[in-house]
């Protein structure tokens, strides 16, 4: 278990530009850049409220099941009552949430992230330099 030594400690990483090749900002600069902050903020603005929302929806269902059996038992058609519809609605909403998120991530997040990356790293031949000493 002698890993501590094998990892460059202290400030060493900060001094080394990320990988060296390609030209462009170091990773530390990237992390501090307004674009990166904006990217993360954008992600948080979408994902955190959505997470809270769908967690609230799951927990509300449980709350209703526990405290409002009358409401859950209201018949809609035949043997189908509100509880069953909401229960199946949870399945459905799980799929919808997933679909919404993946669509958002593909269209908006990845696009702006790719732009950011391109700006930081410069054009493609980055790998040529290599970091192999």
């Amino acid at each position: 278990m002698s890993t501590v030594q094998s990892i460059p400690g202290g400030a060493a990483p900060a001094a080394t530009p990320g990988g060296g090749g390609g030209g462009g900002a170091s990773y530390v600069e990237v992390a501090a850049s307004p674009e990166f902050r904006e990217l993360r903020a954008r992600f948080r603005r979408f994902v955190f409220p959505m997470t809270v929302l769908f967690l609230a929806w799951y927990f509300t269902y449980v709350l209703l099941a526990a405290y409002a059996p009358g409401f859950m038992g209201i018949g809609i058609v035949g043997d189908i009552n509100v509880g069953l519809v909401l229960g199946l609605g949870q399945f459905l909403s799980t799929f919808v949430i997933t679909w919404l998120y993946v669509r958002w991530a593909d269209r908006e997040f990845d696009t702006s992230a790719a732009e950011l990356r391109a700006r930081i790293e410069g054009p493609a031949p980055a790998e040529a330099g290599g970091e192999s000493r």
Binding site: T3, A14, G19, Y58, D79, Y101, A105, R117, E131
Partner: protein, 637 residues
């Protein structure tokens, strides 16, 4: 309950033999695959997702969900949702950054993010603990299933699954091909879905009797059952049942009027529920192993228990050792996202079926509520509803599916646990990678197998819930804060892991040994997540804020690496590992453990080199994860 032993026994034998055969085949295939890493990264998200589904759908899913919905009613639909929605949380909060981190396993992530071998070691201990907790109900479930179908003692099923898993994992099989695990998903889906078609057809032919409502279950048809164990039943409404045996210690031989309250029906009694009788519900079963609460029985503080378990399921999924490794086989963060999304679709499709068994169980097998054996509804329903060869065949199919569930989940867990054991915890004793992995495998299976003899008082779903609770109290804060909060410090992470792990694991132990008190304290111990998860988060945050000095070096780099998607060009045509290192390793990229173990046995490599090999496509940032020497690995092979 032992009507049709032979078809079920044959199905179990077939599944076991097929598993071993495929394992042996997988061993050959993986030896002839020159670079398994590259192969594994061309696995499409759809197949990868099937593989995750194959491993994830365990005994609790296959049997326990239907049992709980049968016992509690449609209100319990949140339960299968919770199993699925755990992946939604995983998807939106951790999937892509985790893939970008290059971590194979949870300890890998801990080390990459926190740069601390101590955090890594604590994470390793937790992986082993959670894996054992999760393996235990798999073995228990196998014993339960086999007993219900063939009457064999409970330890037989547990021993069969444990034995097959050990042989298989030692041979390097099963997990060696993603497609095999993927096949397991479709086998399980077929096994649970096909009988539903016949069951529903029969139900419609019977005039589609409505499943009785939740709290006043009434037997639709008269049923007669012989009690294998003594049960204490709760009587909600006055009911007249016909008993030949003992009620409340009195010998009875005919109709008995039960008044609201509780009654004890002795083992060996034959009970008939006439048509239209409100079914007395089992509360406690006095088996050979001592008293145990019946599945779904009211135990007080129900809302707390439900919330706590739901929280554990939602937040614990991301901390399950056998789940995380599969995300590494995705080409990039985007692929990881697609995989998680596909998993949600596949799991959702599967979980639609257990509630159907539960609803039909209310119609055709209300006696399971009386005997408390609701976990067996999936297994017993086909032969109840469909007499004759068709029912036998479908029962055998379901039994085979159940064993496939036990075997695939157990194998995935065993590989993960054995990998961590050999890699991080047994290293001094077992120097060579393969020997260490073998020792790890035996240990990974032996401990929970022995545990099945001790822990008997907790239902299937409950034990699985405890595993989720421990995962949610430890790895969830580590992953969420590690990915989203740059001020997390080593001391903070350690404190949070320790507090969350110790509290949740102690609660689990007390509950499983049957030492939990009644009332609120018992509820808090049986479903600890609601308090241990916030506690662990709070400890991590507060301690981190107070120890800014122990923030890992280069955190900015790691965070950038986690959050900036890979360049598109960067994952093309790159072999993560030089071919010579992967050849002959009888386990695939997703297994992590053995690969790591083998890496270490090679003198030319060290742990940090592995951290680099584990990050294809992100090697521009790999100086954060490895020493300068690590860069000497050829970036392309």
């Amino acid at each position: 309950m032992t009507a049709l032993a032979w078809p079920a026994a044959v199905a179990v034998a077939l599944v076991c033999v097929a598993t071993l055969a495929v394992g042996a085949l997988g061993l050959r295939l993986s030896r002839t695959t020159s670079d398994f890493y590259v192969a594994s990264r061309v696995v499409s998200p759809r197949w990868n997702a099937s593989a995750i589904g194959g491993e994830y759908l365990s005994a609790a899913s296959f049997l326990g969900v239907a049992g709980l919905v049968l016992a509690v009613g449609a209100d319990m639909l949140w339960y299968p949702i919770g199993y699925t929605a755990g992946y939604v949380v995983l998807l939106v909060l951790v999937a892509a950054p985790l893939r970008r981190s290059g971590a194979f396993t949870l300890p890998d992530f801990a080390e990459i993010r926190m740069r601390s071998p101590v955090v890594r070691r604590v994470a390793s201990v937790l992986v082993v603990g959670i894996g054992w907790l999760y393996l235990l109900p798999q073995f228990q479930g196998a014993g339960l299933a086999l007993r219900s179908a063939t009457g064999a003692p409970r330890w037989v099923g547990a021993l069969i699954v444990a034995g097959v898993v050990v042989l298989n994992v030692l041979a390097g099989g099963m997990r060696s091909i993603t497609l095999v695990q993927a096949f397991q998903y479709w086998l399980k889906l077929t096994a649970i879905a096909l009988p539903v078609i016949f069951l529903v057809a029969t139900w419609r032919a019977d005039g589609a009797p409505a499943p009785p409502a939740d709290h006043t279950t009434v037997s639709v048809n008269a049923v007669t059952v012989r009690l294998a164990d003594t049960v204490r039943v709760r009587v909600e409404e006055p009911a007249t049942i016909i008993v030949h045996g003992q009620v409340d210690g009195e010998p009875v031989g005919g109709p008995v009027q039960l008044e609201p309250g509780s009654a004890v029906l002795a083992a060996g009694s034959t009970v008939t529920l006439p048509e239209g009788t409100p079914v007395p519900r089992a509360e406690e079963i006095f088996g050979r192993d001592g008293p145990a609460p019946a599945g779904g029985a009211e135990r007080g503080h129900e809302l707390y228990r439900t919330y706590s378990l739901l929280l554990a399921l939602l937040l614990g999924t991301m901390g399950l050792p056998h789940v995380i490794v599969r995300f590494y086989t995705n080409p990039d963060g985007r692929g990881a996202r697609r995989t998680a999304a596909a998993v949600i679709g596949l799991l959702g499709a599967f979980y639609l079926f257990p509630p159907v068994y539960a609803a039909l169980g209310r119609v055709y097998a209300p006696d399971l509520l009386l005997t408390g054996r609701t976990d067996t509804v999936v297994l017993t329903l086909p032969q109840r509803v469909l007499p004759g060869p068709l029912g036998e065949a479908l029962s055998a199919l379901v039994m085979g599916g159940a064993f496939a569930a036990f075997l695939s989940t157990s194998s995935g867990l065993t590989v993960s646990v054995a990998g961590v054991l050999s890699q991080d915890l047994l290293r001094r004793r077992a120097r060579t990678g393969v020997a260490g992995f073998r020792a790890g495998t035996i240990l990974a299976v032996a401990v929970p197998a022995a545990g099945t003899l001790l822990a008997t008082s907790v239902g299937l779903a409950d034990t699985v819930g405890l595993a989720f609770a421990v995962a949610a109290s430890t790895f969830c804060p580590l992953l969420v804060l590690g990915i989203w909060w740059r001020r997390l410090t080593v001391t903070g992470a350690l404190a949070g892991l320790a507090v969350g792990g110790v509290t949740a694991a102690s609660a689990a132990m007390v509950t499983m040994l049957g030492r939990a008190p009644d009332g609120l304290a018992g509820a808090l111990l049986a479903q600890p997540a609601a308090w241990t998860v916030p506690l662990s988060f709070a400890v991590m945050v507060v301690v981190s804020l107070r120890t800014p000095g122990s923030m890992p070096a280069g955190v900015g780099r790691v965070m950038t690496r986690l959050h900036v998607p890979e360049g598109i060009r960067q994952h093309h045509g790159r072999a993560a590992v030089p071919p010579g290192r992967a050849v002959g390793v009888p386990i695939d990229a997703a297994s992590g453990g053995l690969v790591g173990a083998v890496d270490r046995s090679s003198p030319a490599s060290n742990r940090s080199a592995r951290a680099v090999t584990l990050s294809p496509g992100t090697d521009r940032s790999s100086p954060t994860a490895g020493p300068p020497g690590a860069g000497s690995l050829p970036p392309t092979a």
